[in-house]
Every structure is written in structure tokens, then in C-alpha cells.
């Protein structure tokens, strides 16, 4: 709860809304004890007094009644009506929606048809007809406003219930022999309530406006009772001559509805679990750069050179150092593998190269990424954009999510080209087919006009590769491109990448958690753990003599290609959280070989020849392995 309040308070607009709302409610609550004039006493000789006149702070209305008093009493009533209507509509609507969604089938069909009918009926006319049938009065207006809103709640809640009704926990409850009523009350309802609350919080304002609308049409509270809507309605005839009588309640409605809406937005965001992870933010076009340390000098080690790269995620006051000073390089035609568990920072390293780390919350806090000797960190967006796809291209994991679902694959390929150079209408299709052919997609003439969902996973990944090849880049960064695929398809994709590398002289940075894949493709490997490189060296050497205990354990996790059945050994424990790295070796807590000195001071990456390791008690001494 306090967390919820904190979240709410973080949103300044919502906070403002909450404060105003609280003030309004407070005023409404204390109205009876305030020294106000009687709101219903008329004094027609003193009608239409202007605001700030003596004895009437907000002036008087068309019958000489005190506006301030009527405003406060009216606010009290309008708030009560708005809340009541929202609660009534939400309760009935939710009940209908849950029943419809839970039982499904014919019940659902009949109820939803009914809801459709009500929704097709212009809602003002429905409300008007209800009030005409029931007779006027605020209570009847409340019923009408609630009634016309029931279908909206019903429809909303039904949609969510349908989703829930097929979840495992509901099935389990059914198998356990619980009655439907019990399941609805104990399993469904608790999951739906946040949605109801959100929907309600956004509806209250609307309810107050609608009641005001009915009063405008002359169907509202009974005189002399004041509610904001009828005040506005009664003042309407004097709008031109005495605008203050309508402006006062009008502004009050505005204030209430606005603060409710601001607060409602805040509540919605605060209840949304994704906000906590910062996932409600939209990523900017390029990762934010905030380098606090001096930029390291270039050393000219390769085509792409990453030096002491530090990428952080700033989430709610915490600082997750996803990449904590990584240095890497890759030469033309070379294939570098980066390997590690999920959360080791390997993908973030790769994405940092072209500023593709989602930001917020990502920030590049230090280091340099040099392409052909020029630093890309902090480069203007225009330059980054020009290089993306043309010099450095990416292949991502899970092509169903990474391809745009609503564009044909051919168009997505062509777009990749068109982003960097103009291409003719005729030429582009030919080029797209050519690209599909290059990644060995059968029948490319037909496939070019497929949508991604019409293709298999392997096909989609080939499209992803074709897209990366579209502009003949020098470097391809492949972020776990085969993870989602089955083994045969995986092998095909790997051999395709390998062929392309050799035929086009591509440099590949290949990110994976699978040593089997590395063995097949990569010249060199860097092993990452908790945002840092813990071992680096030629693939063959590392496979033969892993130095870091982590590398050894990682290799043990993988069935060796052609190695027959072997027991898969999971690494016990979890990687440390990167906002609170322990002193010394980050792996120490999970390492069977950890000793006292592993947990002290900074452990450096020791380099010997082609091999490097960040361990003071390696599996094999570094010098031995390097020879």
C-alpha cells in the first residue's frame, strides 16, 4: 500500500489531482459546519450579484441565493451522485461481465447481444427515456446514468474474465471440485477488481458530466436542491447576461472532473505492475548517454572496438549496472561469440553498440564504442541512424516479435534498404526476392508477400537475417538468433550464417548462452557474468581448457554436439542482482572453489597471449592454458 502511494506520489500530475480532489472532498465534508448562508433562501431583489460582492463571495444566482453556499452543497451532492452512479454501474456491469465471460457459450452470446443492443442505442436517448419513464429527480437521473454505463463495464470486464477463465489456476479450482459461484468469488473476482477500480476511477468524472448533461436537458435534481449540473442548467438562461452564474458551477465541474481524471490516470499507472519495472516508458530513438569518466583512448584493435563500456538501468532510484566495463573487439571477417546466462549483460552490451538499449531506463554511463576508429557513444542521432543497418546490422531473437506483424516481409526488407538509399519501384521487389533467395527461402517470389505470422519460425529468422544483409553491412550483431528454434532449424541457420560470413567477409558478433553454438561458428569467445567479461580467448582453446569455473560450469550445461547423452548440469543459485554486486568475484557465491580471498577487493582480468580470465583460482593456470 505504501508502495502504491509512493508510486502515485511520484506522478506529479496525479499528485496534484489527488490534492485537489482531497481538498474538494474535505470541503464537501465540512460544508454542513461552515458558516454559510442557507443555500435555498431566495432573495430575488439581490439576484445576479457579481462575485466578490459584499456578503456573497461568489455572487448570487437568478433567485438571489448565495452561490458559494450552493456551490459547496451542490459539490457535495454531485460527488455523491457521481460516486454512487459509478459504483452502481461498476457493480452491475462487472457482475454481468463476469457471468458472461466465465460461463461463455450461449450465456455469453445472449448477454453480449443484449449489451450490443444497449450500446447501439444512443446513450443520451436511453438516459432520457429512462428519466422520462421514471420521472425526474436526482435519484432517477443517477439510475439512468448508471444504467447507460452498465454495458461499457460489462463489456470491459467480460473481456478480462474470458482471459482468466482459461487460466491454469481456474482449471485447477474446477478440478478441485469448487462450485462455479465459489470460483467466481475466490479466483476470478480478486483478479478483476483492480480493473474495475481503474475503470471506475476513470468513469466518475464522466458520470458527473453526464448528470450535468441530463440537467441541461431539464432532467435532474428537484428544486431547490443544488447539484452542479442543475446549477449549470438553471443558469443557462442567463448565460449571456450573467455568465458568472454558469461559470461558477462550470469551473467547479471542470476542477472536479479534471482532478478525478488526473488521479484516475495516476491510480491506473500505479496499479499497473509494469510501471514498477519502468516498462511503461517508451524507449527513445537512441540510448541516453551520460559519461562521467573520461573517454578511453582508441587502441585500434579491430573494426569494432568496445572499451570499458558501462551501461546502467536507472529504475526508481536504483542503479542496475547491467554492463560494468566491458572491452571487446572484432576484426573484419571474424566471428566473436559472447556467451553467458540470461542477465549477464551480453545483450545489453550488443545493443549499446548502436544505442539500441531501451532508454529510459537505460543509460550508457561510460566507455567507448569505436567503429573504424570513431567513437559512436554520444554521436549525434543522425550519424547513428545512418550507420544502423548499413555498417552494423542486428539479428534478433524471436522473429515473431521482432518483425512488424502488419507489414509483408517483402516490404520490411525493402524498407531496410530504403532507409539508406533510394530504390526504384521495380528494383525493390527484385532485390527483396534476391535477399530471400540469399537466405535460402524456398519459393521467394511467393514468400515475399507473406505476413510474418504466415511463416514458420525458421523462415521468419531467415527473413530477419535477410533484413540484416540488405545493406551489405560490415558487422552483424546476432542476439541469440537461434534460441527460439528447434535443433535442425538451428543448425541450418548457423550454417547459413557461417556461409555468409565466409562469402561476404562479414564480421559477426554472436550472442548466445549455448557453447554448442559457439563451437560451431565462432573464432573467439568472451564469457560474461554479472555485466563483466570473466574469460576471453580463442574458441578451440577455451573449449579444451576452460579457465574460469563459471566457463566450465556453463560448458557442462550443454550437450556436446555429437557427444551423445550427457548429464546436463544446471548451475546452482542465481546470478547476483547487478545493483548490489558483492565485493570480489561476483561468481563466488555459486562457485564450489571459492575461498576467502575471492571475496576481497577488485579481481582483474588477467591476460596472457590470446587468453584472459578474471579469476584468482582458475581451473587451469592462465599461463599453462595460453601456451
Amino acid at each position: 500500500m505504501t508502495g502504491f502511494l509512493k508510486l502515485l506520489a511520484r506522478n506529479r500530475l496525479a499528485l496534484a489531482g489527488a490534492i485537489v480532489m482531497a481538498l474538494v472532498i474535505l470541503l464537501a465534508l465540512v460544508t454542513p459546519i461552515l458558516p454559510l448562508a442557507d443555500p435555498d433562501v431566495t432573495d430575488t431583489a439581490n439576484r445576479f450579484r457579481l462575485p466578490f460582492s459584499e456578503g456573497a463571495l461568489l455572487g448570487t444566482d437568478h433567485l438571489g441565493r448565495d452561490m458559494l453556499s450552493r456551490l459547496l452543497w451542490g459539490t457535495r451532492l454531485s460527488l455523491a451522485v457521481g460516486f454512487a452512479a459509478a459504483i452502481v454501474a461498476a457493480t452491475i456491469g462487472a457482475a454481468i461481465g463476469i457471468i458472461s465471460g466465465y460461463y461463455g457459450g450461449r450465456v455469453d452470446n445472449v448477454i453480449m447481444r443484449g449489451v450490443d443492443m444497449l450500446m447501439a442505442f444512443p446513450y443520451i436517448l436511453l438516459a432520457l427515456a429512462i428519466v422520462a419513464a421514471l420521472g425526474p429527480g436526482l435519484l432517477n437521473a443517477l439510475i439512468a446514468v448508471a444504467a447507460v454505463n452498465v454495458p461499457f463495464f460489462a463489456r470491459n470486464i467480460r473481456g478480462i474474465t474470458v482471459g482468466l477463465a482459461h487460466k491454469e489456476f481456474v482449471d485447477a479450482a474446477r478440478l478441485a471440485g469448487l462450485t462455479n459461484a465459489r470460483i467466481i468469488l475466490t479466483e476470478i473476482l480478486p483478479n478483476v477488481i483492480p480493473v474495475i477500480v481503474i475503470a471506475m476511477s476513470t468513469t466518475i468524472g464522466w458520470m458527473i458530466l453526464e448528470t450535468a448533461g441530463l440537467s441541461f436537458l431539464g432532467l435532474g435534481s428537484q428544486p431547490p436542491q443544488a447539484d452542479l449540473g442543475s446549477m449549470l442548467g438553471e443558469a443557462r438562461s442567463a448565460l449571456i447576461t450573467n455568465p458568472h452564474t454558469s461559470v461558477v458551477p462550470g469551473v467547479m465541474i471542470l476542477i472536479i472532473v479534471m482532478s478525478i481524471n488526473l488521479l484516475g490516470d495516476g491510480v491506473r499507472d500505479a496499479l499497473d505492475p509494469r510501471l514498477k519495472s519502468g516498462a511503461l516508458s517508451r524507449p527513445m530513438a537512441a540510448t541516453r548517454v551520460d559519461r562521467r569518466a573520461p573517454v578511453p583512448e582508441a587502441i585500434g584493435a579491430g573494426l569494432l572496438e568496445v572499451q570499458n563500456l558501462q551501461t546502467e538501468f536507472h529504475v526508481r532510484g536504483r542503479n542496475y549496472r547491467a554492463v560494468g566495463g566491458v572491452s571487446l573487439h572484432v576484426k573484419p571477417g571474424e566471428c566473436l561469440g559472447i556467451i553467458g546466462e540470461s542477465g549477464s549483460g551480453k545483450s545489453v552490451t550488443a545493443l549499446s553498440v548502436m544505442g539500441l538499449v531501451a532508454s529510459p531506463p537505460g543509460v550508457i554511463a561510460g566507455g567507448a564504442v569505436r567503429y573504424d576508429g570513431k567513437d559512436l557513444i554520444g554521436a549525434p542521432y543522425r550519424r547513428l541512424r545512418e550507420m544502423r543497418g548499413r555498417n552494423v546490422a542486428y539479428i534478433f531473437q524471436d522473429p515473431l516479435a521482432t518483425l512488424h506483424p502488419l507489414y509483408r516481409v517483402g516490404d520490411q526488407l525493402i524498407e531496410a534498404i530504403r532507409a539508406h538509399r533510394p530504390i526504384g519501384k521495380q528494383e525493390d521487389r527484385t532485390k527483396a526476392i534476391e535477399l530471400l533467395k540469399a537466405v535460402r527461402i524456398p519459393n521467394p517470389e511467393k514468400r515475399v508477400s507473406d505476413y510474418p505470422h504466415e511463416m514458420s519460425g525458421g523462415m521468419r529468422q531467415r527473413v530477419g537475417i535477410a533484413m540484416a544483409l540488405a545493406n551489405d553491412p560490415d558487422i552483424i550483431i546476432a542476439d541469440e538468433p537461434t534460441t527460439a528454434l528447434d535443433v535442425t532449424v538451428q543448425a541450418q541457420i548457423l550454417s547459413l550464417l557461417d556461409d555468409l560470413r565466409r562469402s561476404r567477409g562479414l564480421a559477426i558478433v554472436f550472442i548466445t548462452h549455448d557453447f554448442g553454438v559457439v563451437a560451431q561458428l565462432c573464432d573467439r569467445v568472451a564469457v560474461m557474468y554479472a555485466g563483466r567479461i570473466v574469460e576471453e580467448g580463442p574458441t578451440r582453446g577455451m573449449l579444451e581448457t576452460p579457465l574460469h569455473p563459471y566457463t566450465a560450469r556453463l560448458m557442462a550445461c550443454v550437450p556436446e554436439l555429437g557427444g551423445g547423452k550427457r548429464r546436463l548440469e544446471a548451475i546452482p543459485g542465481l546470478p547476483p542482482v547487478v545493483d548490489r554486486l558483492p565485493e570480489g568475484c561476483a561468481f563466488a557465491d555459486r562457485c564450489t572453489k571459492a575461498r576467502e580471498d575471492c571475496r576481497v577487493g577488485e579481481i582483474h582480468l588477467e591476460r596472457e597471449g590470446a587468453r584472459a580470465v578474471r579469476c584468482i583460482h582458475p581451473e587451469t593456470p592462465l599461463r599453462e592454458a595460453a601456451e
Binding site: 435555498d40 433562501v41 431566495t42 430575488t44 431583489a45 439576484r47 445576479f48 437568478h62 433567485l63 438571489g64 422520462a132 420521472g135 425526474p136 429527480g137 431539464g218 432532467l219 428537484q222 428544486p223 431547490p224 438553471e234 443557462r236 438562461s237 442567463a238 448565460l239 449571456i240 447576461t241 450573467n242
Partner: protein, 525 residues
């Protein structure tokens, strides 16, 4: 860069360009052409068939397109010749013989004669008439006394009544008695209401639904061609919008100006007109049961309500305090000696104490609006406050007009103690005869919803209805008014002064006590 500020600016800019672009057009439009009078009406007419309509709003158009056999003399409610040049009434008051004006023809070219008159009344009254199905004719009962219409010769027509009926002539001057062209009814059938033809100073031009009814000058009008070339009636239901149109110059003449808007029209460029009419705004009191069964309590209510404040403040002087059941506009029948109940809360409290009705709780039916109801909610609320000040406990129930009538007309018994009501009539007979007699209780088909009953009043009203001599009738009505005021079956509140505003381009305009709008002498520069 924010899109909204951009779009706001964009909209403003677009609006400005648009305005500049259309500037010429809009300005020209604001300046209405001379010779064409544009009237802001309160609603779309139902029909232009005078026998089929009931609303004053529709009458305002009809009176300019049709003539009746007789009409009200300018500025009065007394009848004078129109299509009939002369008439005689038989001794027993049951036969009316009219001499018709020679040489008059309808706008469609057909001639006006005795056959046409007979056609008109038979269509309304005779269910076997071939064109009776062009109805329904809701106000046909105005002529329910007519037994037979006879063509004596082409220019003489004789009405035979089943009993003497004094208001007959006055009813003939009412829009229900306007004469339509039989040829046009035969040609148009049920569509006649949209293709009307009469003998009036203006002939029908066009009817653009929800936009305008246009009538054009009839150069051959028997009473002299009108000055205007045409009149356009625009239905503008919302009073604010009507006021805004008047201020913006979109209309030249506006009727039923909301009281609070009158102050907008004080300047040189407008003229405000007022005319008291045959209208009474009153509260029906339930004399059958509850506190108002006691005459003292009814009188107390009359003393308690500050009518001066109501008419001067709530209605901004658009009405005068009513003294009794008959409005002063019926000059010949009104009793000028009658003084309204003064505002005297102390007296009211005394009466209440005398009747032992202190703190009586009352249910008060209020309507939201309706024909002749002046700002009924504000009025009801103010009266509620006055009544509470002398010790009543008043609960208001408001109803939309039709529901209200559905509740009030069948009688207040068992439901309410008081109800707002207003009547506009054309004869001093109508309202008291329909709403104050014992035989007019709701169960007998009348409008005496408060169950007032005084045999003397009944007797006076019956006698006045059959007397054919106006002076005789006047005496009876004046006596009735004294008794009714003393008995206080109603709270007599106000007599409405109809108002209108014209722009300074309009001349020779005046309002009629009949509430009709007569435009044949109006000039627009």
C-alpha cells in the same frame, strides 16, 4: 514542441483564415436583406393547417397566411369583420348568419365563398366528410356547439348551434376558425399542412424543414398588400441561441425573449415590445383534502407569496401581478375594482394560526416548462421559499410538461396539494368555465383539478355562457371574479406580458393582446 498547442494554434489559424475567407459571406449573411423580415420562432411548426395545430408558435405563422370570418380588432380582443363583412344573431342565440366579403380568392386562385366556409367546418366536425381524414383536429371542440352549417347563397352562410354559446364569435376569430382553400385540401390531402393556401396577406413560399418557413407578400390582399416582400420564420428552440442570433444580427424579430436576456437589448439598435395578454399564471390548490381544504389556508398562501418580487425580479417585469381568475386583457369582462392579495407574511401567519395549520406540509407539482409557463422552476422555487417563510413545509416535485399534464389534469387528489398552471385563452368564458365549475371536476371531463366548488360561481358562469349581450356577460363575470378571489381556489400569480425585440431596421411593429403576430403593416429597411 507540443502538439496541442500546435493544434490549438492550428485550429485558431485555420479558423481565422476560414473566417477571412468566408468573411464576406458571413458578414453579408449577418446583414439580412431589406423587405425580408426574419423572425426567430421558438419551435418548428407542426403543420400549417390551422385546424390541425394548437400551439401559439404555429398561430404566429398562420395568422399571416389565413383569414377567419372575423378577427380581433387591432390592439384588443374584440371581434371585427374580416372575411365576413357582417353578421346577425338570432334572438335565441342559436343561429348566426354571416354575409361574406365579395371578390376574395385564395392564394391558389380558387374563389372564397359560402361553400368554402361550409367545407371548412364540415371537414373539422363531420366524421363522414371526405376530408375529415386530413386531421386529427384537436381543437374542433371549440365548435362543438355547431350543429349545422348551411349555404344560404354564395355569399351568405348560416351556422346553427345546439344551444346558445356566447364565445362562438370569439372562437371564430381564433386560428382554429381560419378558412383554408377547399381546392388546396382536395389537391393536397394530408399534405395540405405543408402546402397551405389561404386568403391572408402573405402566401406560402416554402418550408425548409428545421430551417425556415418562408411566406411571401400577397399583392392582391383584400385589405391592402403588405409592405414586406417576405417573412422568414426560423425555428430556434434554445432561448440562448435565439438571443445570440438576435445579438449577432441573424434575425430581425425575436419573440418570447427570456426575461433575463432583456437587459441585453436596452441599446439604440433594438426596440423592446411588451403587451399584456389573456394569460393567467396560477397555482391550483387542492381544495378537496389536506390543508388547502380550509379557505383560510388558501388565503394564507395568497398572502404569503411575494408576487411583486416574482414578476419584477424572477420575470424581470415581463408580467404583472394577477388579481383574480380573469386577466385584464379582457377589458370588457375584467373587474377593475379587484385588488391583488398583498404580500403580507404576518397576515398569512395569522390566518394559519387561526386555521391551526402551522407547519403544514405540502406537495408542490412544478413543471419544467410548457406552453405559457413562465420560468416555472425558478418561480416554483421562489414560491417554495416564500411559503416556507410563513411556516409551510413544501416539497417540490418537477415533471416534464407532458407528464405534468398527465398528473395534474386528472386531479390532484391523493397526490399533491398544489400545482403550477397557466392558461392563454381567447374568451373570458373559457378558463373559469373549464377550470372552476363544479361540473368541471376532472371526473366530469373538466380541468378543475383542485376540486373547487361554489354553486354561486357555477350559476354565474352558466348564465354568462348563454347570454348574448356583452354587457350582461360582463356583469356576471365581474361578480364571479369577486367571489373567486375571496374563495381563493388558486394562488393568483401573474398575467404575462408577451414581449418581442426587433432590430432598428423594423418599423410599424406592434404586439397584439391575442398573442398573435400580425405582420401585414410591418416595414423593414
Amino acid at each position: 514542441m507540443s502538439l496541442v498547442s500546435f493544434s490549438r494554434r492550428g485550429v485558431l489559424a485555420a479558423g481565422t483564415t476560414l473566417a477571412l475567407m468566408l468573411g464576406a459571406a458571413s458578414l453579408a449573411q449577418a446583414q439580412t436583406p431589406p423587405g425580408v423580415l426574419i423572425v426567430g420562432q421558438i419551435a418548428e411548426p407542426k403543420s400549417l393547417d390551422p385546424a390541425a395545430v394548437t400551439a401559439v408558435n404555429d398561430f404566429r405563422i398562420l395568422m399571416n397566411v389565413y383569414d377567419g370570418l372575423v378577427r380581433y380588432k387591432d390592439g384588443t380582443l374584440e371581434v371585427e369583420p374580416a372575411l365576413a363583412t357582417d353578421w346577425t344573431i338570432s334572438e335565441d342565440g342559436t343561429e348566426y348568419t354571416f354575409t361574406l366579403r365579395d371578390g376574395v380568392s385564395f392564394h391558389d386562385g380558387s374563389a372564397f365563398d359560402a361553400e368554402a366556409v361550409k367545407f371548412n367546418f364540415d371537414r373539422m366536425l363531420d366524421e363522414s366528410h371526405p376530408f375529415h381524414d386530413t386531421g386529427p383536429f384537436p381543437l374542433a371542440f371549440f365548435f362543438s356547439a355547431v350543429e349545422n352549417v348551411e349555404v344560404v347563397d354564395p355569399l351568405t352562410v348560416k351556422f346553427t348551434l345546439n344551444a346558445p354559446y356566447a364565445p362562438f364569435l370569439s372562437n371564430l376569430a381564433y386560428p382554429t376558425g381560419l378558412i383554408v382553400s377547399p381546392a388546396a385540401v382536395e389537391a393536397g390531402g394530408a399534405d395540405f399542412g405543408r402546402n397551405p393556401s389561404g386568403t391572408g396577406p402573405f402566401k406560402f413560399g416554402e418550408w425548409r424543414s428545421n430551417e425556415a418557413v418562408v411566406i411571401e407578400a400577397n399583392p392582391d390582399y383584400w385589405d391592402g398588400a403588405p409592405e414586406l416582400q417576405a417573412v422568414v420564420f426560423r425555428p430556434i428552440t434554445d432561448a440562448n441561441t435565439r438571443t445570440a442570433e438576435m445579438l449577432a444580427g441573424g434575425i430581425d424579430l425575436m419573440v418570447e425573449v427570456p426575461p433575463v436576456a432583456l437587459s441585453e437589448f436596452q441599446g439604440e439598435q433594438y426596440s423592446v415590445f411588451e403587451q399584456a395578454g389573456p394569460h393567467v399564471w396560477f397555482l391550483i390548490l387542492n381544495a378537496k383534502e389536506g390543508p388547502f381544504a380550509d379557505k383560510l389556508v388558501r388565503q394564507a398562501a395568497n398572502y404569503a407569496i411575494n408576487k411583486e418580487a416574482l414578476v419584477n425580479n424572477v420575470l424581470e417585469g415581463t408580467a404583472e401581478v394577477a388579481a383574480g381568475p380573469t386577466p385584464p386583457a379582457f377589458a370588457w369582462a375584467y373587474n377593475p375594482d379587484l385588488e391583488p392579495y398583498p404580500y403580507d407574511p404576518e397576515k398569512a401567519k395569522e390566518l394559519l394560526a387561526e386555521a391551526g395549520a402551522e407547519g403544514a406540509s405540502l406537495t408542490f407539482y412544478v413543471t419544467e416548462g410548457g406552453s405559457g409557463m413562465l420560468d416555472p422552476i425558478a418561480m416554483g422555487t421562489a414560491m417554495q421559499a416564500d411559503l416556507e417563510a410563513v411556516g409551510f413545509d413544501v416539497t417540490i416535485e418537477t415533471y416534464e410538461w407532458n407528464t405534468f399534464l398527465g398528473e395534474v389534469n386528472p386531479g390532484l387528489e391523493g397526490k399533491a396539494d398544489m400545482a403550477e398552471m397557466a392558461w392563454m385563452t381567447n374568451d373570458p368564458d373559457t378558463l373559469p368555465f373549464l377550470a372552476l365549475r363544479t361540473d368541471a371536476w376532472p371526473d366530469k371531463g373538466g380541468f378543475n383539478s383542485g376540486y373547487y366548488s361554489n354553486p354561486k360561481v357555477d350559476e354565474l358562469l352558466e348564465a354568462a355562457r348563454v347570454a348574448t349581450d356583452q354587457e350582461e356577460r360582463a356583469k356576471l363575470y365581474k361578480e364571479m371574479q369577486v367571489i373567486v378571489q375571496e374563495d381563493a381556489p388558486w394562488v393568483f400569480v401573474a398575467n404575462w406580458k408577451q414581449n418581442a425585440v426587433t432590430s432598428d431596421r423594423v418599423e410599424n411593429f406592434s404586439l397584439q393582446p391575442s398573442f398573435f403576430l400580425l405582420l401585414d403593416d410591418v416595414v423593414k429597411n
